[in-house]
């Protein structure tokens, strides 16, 4: 399988703080890579560097013809923004030249009701807004999906639905998925590759069996991970 993404000696700094240091990894086409690590280890910074919205050193090389779908962690929106979900989806549809039926297809895929899509986006619940963002990401047939903790603020059934949708899409459309998650059980289930980012530039990369071990996790999170391991080896 050819690589979708090759990253070599990537570095990101905020002022005097070096957030990411000489990070190298590659993601094959169609694979799922999970990024784990404690808060402040630079997971979101890595995503921003990958989409080119943060200045970085080193190289980030995406395969030619890469189309992104990005689901950010949380957006700071005004509640009374007069922009409906439909407006938001149609704005992207116009740019990527997607048809009206394509907009309908993605809203169905993520189970976003017609009535919900007509409401202003600032007034949607956490789960509804997250599904709208997923629909937005899926418009225009992306071949790479980037998820930044996509289930923050979503209840458990909503979370299950979200991941079921992503897994189905991945089978149907050969998507490469890169996701940030704190839930190691989920990482174990979905990811073929794990990138761990610890504080002070510690990092590791490999398949889950190799990375999700007590020793590596302790090094990454800086604390024993009994609780998480329970998850990993659970049913």
């Amino acid at each position: 399988m050819p690589d979708r993404l090759v990253v070599s000696s990537l570095g990101v700094r905020f002022g005097k703080t070096q957030v990411l240091r000489s990070l190298s990894f590659s993601v094959p086409d169609g694979a799922t890579m999970a990024v784990i690590g404690p808060n402040g280890a630079g997971k979101t910074a890595l995503f921003k560097a990958l989409i080119g919205s943060l200045p970085s050193t080193g190289t980030v090389a995406w395969a030619e013809g890469t189309r992104f779908g990005y689901v950010p962690q949380r957006l700071d929106l005004e509640r009374d923004l007069p922009l409906s979900g439909r407006d938001f989806l149609h704005a992207k549809a116009a740019l990527v030249k997607a048809s009206v039926s394509e907009v309908k297809r993605v809203t169905r895929l993520v189970n976003l009701g017609h009535e919900v899509a007509r409401r202003p986006i600032g007034g949607l619940s956490g789960g509804q807004f997250q599904r709208l963002l997923l629909a937005f990401a899926l418009l225009g047939h992306p071949n790479v999906l980037l998820f930044d903790e996509p289930t923050t603020g979503i209840d458990e059934p909503g979370e299950e639905l979200l991941y079921a949708t992503v897994e189905r899409l991945q089978r149907e459309e050969k998507l490469t998925v890169i996701l940030i998650s704190h839930e190691l059980s989920l990482v174990y289930r979905m990811a073929g590759l794990v990138l761990c980012l610890g504080r002070r530039g510690v990092s590791c990369f490999g398949p889950p069996r190799q990375i999700l071990t007590p020793e590596t996790l302790e090094r990454t999170y800086g604390a024993p991970m009994d609780h998480y391991l329970h998850d990993v080896h659970g049913p």
């Binding site: 921003k48 992104f68 009374d80 704005a91 992207k92």
Partner: protein
Amino acid sequence: MDPSALLLSSGMAVAAGVVGCFAVMRRMTLAADAMSHVALPGIGLALVLHLNPVIGGVAMLLVGAVLIWGLEQRTGISTETVVGVVFSFALAVGSMLASGEELIDALLGKPGVVRPTELVFGLLAPLAVVVFLVWARNRLLIALVSPDLARTVNIHVERLNLGFLVAFALTVALGLRYLGVLLMGSLIIIPAATAKHLAGNIRAMFLLAVGVSVGSTLAGTALASILHRPTGPLIIAVAAGCFFVSLAWRRPA
């Protein structure tokens, strides 16, 4: 009121309504007001050099747009703070350069004889502003929700911001004659803020904002000739009236 003045003030109002929608959604309310002040030193300088004050104002506003843009590029600086300081400074310098009657006219606007060059600018600039914003509306909407999302759709966010600020500066320049430096910011912000209360989607917001903006401009102009009062303050008073009335019909968030 003569037809060319009517045409000019309507063009100004349409541009203000559309630009205002994006300015309000981008939370630029304070920056918008402050930015209109930057025209003042330009007007003052033009008066000293015996040039058309509008030319001085436009030139200074474009410099201001590039200046804000440059500040926005640098992270770690609170844009609102810097904008506030820089543009209060502009107001101070402008008041030193212009004086007396001229200063009052520059601050509050004064309808008068329209020169041909001004007529051409007054008709072409609103057209350019509206065409640009209609063309860029999808990009602007996505970028205001999230610049990161915009980048993943191949939107060049920095270039887009510069385009918007230039459109904004041109719109302020359009209001120099009728509303002046102090009040033009208000014609951009108040109709859009009114529309934001009432609209549930983007199309409704644009239509309402343009409606309130053009409506208050025409009503204010008519009232001015009946009451023999300056036009600019009356236009803004009518617009502000619409805003307060709109609070009663505010859409539940």
